[in-house]
């Protein structure tokens, strides 16, 4: 049997397939649809310090081979998360990585401090696609601000930190380096691409928020290129995300340099897809007589 284990920071994953934040809820929603124990790690929907109502409807619209979403980080806040979601998550037996986001550095710090105390949480993913209060744009669009957020969280926790990068930047490698230098254990990329769609009959935007984030198969080539560039230029593990629908897509990301991958939109279309991807990777390794998954990571040298 080929070896599928990978290590991200301090977390040992039985395989490189993770469920992406915001597309897998708090895992319970999937308990009847996929074997949660078979997934490498589960990243929970981004939580914030205080509850958030989210954006006006419509929040989702389909585009060619993709979807636009503008959910607006609707969540019940950390108190509710710890009380209502953690007991179930703790029992699954699969590494749980909690995605957090804040309106400022203090909020990231407070969230991380509270999660740090909970043993059953393996890691924290920093969703820095949130507004940067010091200047225009997102935290994830600014090297200095990215550095500050990661540094603050690093100070308070020894748990594995994954910094999730936005693709809406001119040079994603620079942001990845900032996260690495501030002590992030890994980076995950990409979050969604800014996008928009208009209903020409009503002459209105198709999303209540006007613009939203694009995900799904249509973003895969761009995400793949970004994973390739980032993994060549930093030393911490890269987790590939973007339009992964099946094992072939996942393997492609790993060949581009990803140590692990996350599955997002595909969970909506095929709720059992994470399990299927794990099996597909296993079959691929077997077929090509590859002993361990690391042997394909970042390997673009052809078959010989």
């Amino acid at each position: 049997m080929a070896k599928l284990e990978v290590k991200i920071g301090k977390i040992k994953l039985k395989n490189p397939v993770m469920a992406a934040s915001g597309t897998f809820g708090y895992a319970k929603e999937f308990e009847k649809l996929v074997n949660l124990k078979h997934i490498g790690a589960i990243i929970t929907k981004t939580i914030t310090l205080n509850p958030r109502q989210g954006n006006p409807m419509p929040r989702i619209c389909e585009t060619s081979a993709g979807i636009l979403n503008a959910i607006g980080l609707q969540n019940e806040g950390i108190d509710n998360f710890l009380k209502e979601k953690i007991p179930y998550l703790s029992k699954i037996g699969t590494p749980i990585i909690v995605s957090i986001s804040g309106n400022n550095i203090d909020e990231f710090f407070i969230l991380a401090r509270r999660l740090d105390k909970i043993k059953s949480i393996s890691g924290i993913e920093l969703n820095i696609s949130c507004p940067n209060i010091n200047c225009e744009g997102l935290v994830a669009q600014d090297t200095k601000e990215t550095h500050e957020v990661v540094k603050a969280v690093r100070k308070i926790t020894d748990k594995t930190i994954i910094t999730k990068l936005s693709p809406n930047v001119t040079d994603i490698v620079k942001i990845a380096r900032a996260a690495e230098n501030a002590g992030s254990d890994a980076v995950s990329l990409v979050n969604t691409f800014f996008g928009m769609a208009i209903d020409i009959n009503t002459r209105k935007p198709k999303l209540g928020n006007i613009t939203g984030g694009l995900s799904g198969p249509c973003i895969k080539p761009i995400a793949l290129r970004m994973v390739y560039e980032v993994s060549k230029n930093i030393d911490i593990p890269v987790i590939g995300i973007g339009g992964i629908m099946n094992a072939n897509d996942a393997i492609e990301f790993m060949m581009a340099g990803a140590a692990a991958i996350q599955v997002g939109t595909a969970n909506f279309i095929e709720p059992g897809v994470c399990d299927k991807i794990v099996k597909g990777i296993e079959e691929y390794l077997k077929k090509h007589k590859i002993e361990k998954i690391e042997d394909i990571a970042g390997n673009l040298d052809g078959n010989n």
């Binding site: 915001g22 597309t23 897998f24 809820g25 929603e29 999937f30 009847k32 649809l33 929907k45 109502q53 989210g54 409807m57 419509p58 929040r59 989702i60 619209c61 389909e62 060619s64 081979a65 993709g66 979807i67 979403n69 959910i71 609707q74 799904g216 198969p217 629908m245 939109t265 969970n267 909506f268 279309i269 095929e270 709720p271 059992g272």
Partner: protein, 259 residues
């Protein structure tokens, strides 16, 4: 709730833009309640990408869905042939709440607007099975868009029709017919109203019910992606905060909603 690959047993055009598809989905047939829905993957490719939600129209060992062709997904569905296989996830959501009965009380009034008839036939069948006196009002733009009249009549003798253009039944919106029926069929019993149709019609019926202090359950259609409460795409504003059409609904008490 299960995701299963099932066989299309039949797929027939019933009129104009409406189709009825029977699916060999015994698990869903066994477990689905009136008002629940399924998520159907119209295509094995990723175009269209998302599944499409459809109400469980009827169950009898298999399930039936009744659908209108409005875009790419339903167009692809309409071309499915007997024996084709598709993925179907369900049953999903919370359906209609059926009342407890004592001596024929309360009475139920079902109001269907256009394709809104889809989830209501199964409801009518279940209500009458429980010996609840059930009145059905069907509304549509014009005669050939009236749906399920025969099926409703099999469940209950009291079926009334209205068309916006007056080509069949009484003329006007179904809300007008509702007013009329309320006048002619005074009941000393409590009345529960079940309604599915376009948003404006739901609101109009809900307003009448509020005036009359009738309980009213509405089935909402919101754009949704996952159908299982994960993506938070199908938010519905209610008096007790933001709810999800897929998980908390699609059926809501009208008095709970912020219209």
């Amino acid at each position: 709730m299960k995701d299963t690959r099932v066989k299309v047993l039949s797929n027939k055009k019933i009129s104009h833009v409406y189709y009825k598809m029977a699916l060999d989905a015994p698990y869903i047939a066994r477990t689905a309640k009136p008002g629940q829905f399924v998520q159907i993957r119209c295509n094995d490719s990723f175009e269209p990408l998302l599944r499409r939600p459809f109400s469980v129209h009827r169950v009898n060992g298999n399930i039936e869905i009744l659908y209108e062709t409005v875009g790419s997904g339903t167009e692809i569905l309409s071309n499915k042939k007997e024996g084709d296989k598709i993925n179907i996830l369900g049953p999903l959501g919370n359906g209609f709440t059926l009342p407890r009965t004592t001596n024929g009380e309360p009475r139920a009034i079902i109001i269907a607007g256009g394709i809104g008839a889809a989830p209501l036939v199964y409801l009518a069948e279940e209500l009458t099975k429980k010996k609840i006196k059930t009145i059905v009002l069907i509304g549509a733009k014009t005669k050939n868009l009236i749906l399920c009249e025969k099926d409703f009549k099999k469940a209950t003798p009291e079926v009334y029709v209205s068309t916006d253009d007056g080509t069949y039944g009484s003329q006007g919106f179904v809300s007008k017919l509702f007013h009329k029926i309320l006048k002619t069929t005074e009941s000393k019993f409590e009345t529960i109203v079940y309604v599915c149709g376009p948003h404006g019609m739901l609101k109009c019926i809900a307003d009448i019910c509020q005036e009359r202090k009738f309980k009213c359950q509405v089935s909402l259609e919101e754009k949704m992606a996952c159908g299982i409460g994960v993506c938070l795409g199908c938010a519905v504003k209610t008096k007790s905060g933001t709810k999800l059409a897929c998980e908390d609904g699609p059926v809501f008490n009208a008095s709970e909603l912020i219209w």
